[in-house]
């Protein structure tokens, strides 16, 4: 029940196209949903995040769509560029009240390749 399922595993998009990555979860106790971007040899970097009381959040070319009833959320990358080629991870945060902290549960990752 703590899993976050991410798809697709890999994605190839032409420059200028829209990249869409989907995630699904079961645990309704998750209270924060970030997306991380990871380039080869680097650590994951926070890209954009959303709280479950919001249905959409946009930052530049990146948009998160959140469907609370379906327990799904997705990342849309508009006007995809070769520089967007990276691995993207969705995640969900679970608050642990006994420890007064949250822990991130990550999806399996999506390798995005944007072709010039």
């Amino acid at each position: 029940q703590q899993q976050v399922k991410q798809s697709p595993q890999s994605l190839i998009v032409q420059k200028g196209g829209i990249s869409i990555i989907n995630c699904a979860y079961e645990n309704t106790a998750f209270d924060y949903f970030p997306w991380y971007q990871q380039f080869p040899g680097k650590g994951p970097a926070l890209l954009i995040a959303i709280r479950p009381d919001v249905s959409e959040k946009k930052e530049g070319r990146f948009t998160i769509s959140f469907n609370k009833s379906a327990k799904q959320f997705s990342l849309h990358i508009m006007d995809s560029q070769p520089g967007d080629s990276a691995t993207y991870f969705c995640a969900a945060s679970l608050w642990i009240s006994s420890s007064n902290t949250g822990k991130l549960i990550f999806g399996q990752g999506t390798t995005l390749q944007v072709k010039p």
Binding site: G41, G43, L46, T87, N100, T101, K103, L104, F106, Q108
Partner: protein
């Protein structure tokens, strides 16, 4: 100026050895984490410390022992290394209980031969 730093970047060692990875954050954050990223890039939390106190231990083998000398540092010591320990280990930090954002270090690639 690096927010979360780790040393070393690469670590190659033989089975049975003991090794340590160091992590430092200069963000003034209260909470630090260790994550393991396996060969399939799956990221999983291992430990979390808050102000030098262990608060999350995700049933990691006791060969792994985190140590936090102060809230800016979280080191990971691994005893009797096994082939399956080969992975990339990431340190991360979070400001405090009122925030959600976690900031990751550059990772340490551990290869056990």
């Amino acid at each position: 100026d690096t927010a979360v730093s780790q040393t070393p970047k690469y670590l190659v060692t033989q089975m049975g050895n003991d090794k340590s990875i160091k992590c430092e954050q200069n963000l003034g954050h209260d909470t630090m984490y260790w994550y393991k990223q396996d060969s399939k890039k799956f990221l999983k939390i291992m430990f979390s410390y808050n102000n030098k106190e262990l608060i999350i231990n995700e049933t990691v083998p006791n060969r792994f022992s985190p140590k936090s000398p102060d809230k800016a540092h979280l080191n990971l010591h691994i005893n009797s290394l096994e082939l399956g320990d080969s992975a990339v280990y990431f340190c991360a930090s979070r400001k405090d209980y009122s925030t959600y954002e976690q900031y990751f270090g550059p990772g340490t690639r551990l290869t056990v031969t």
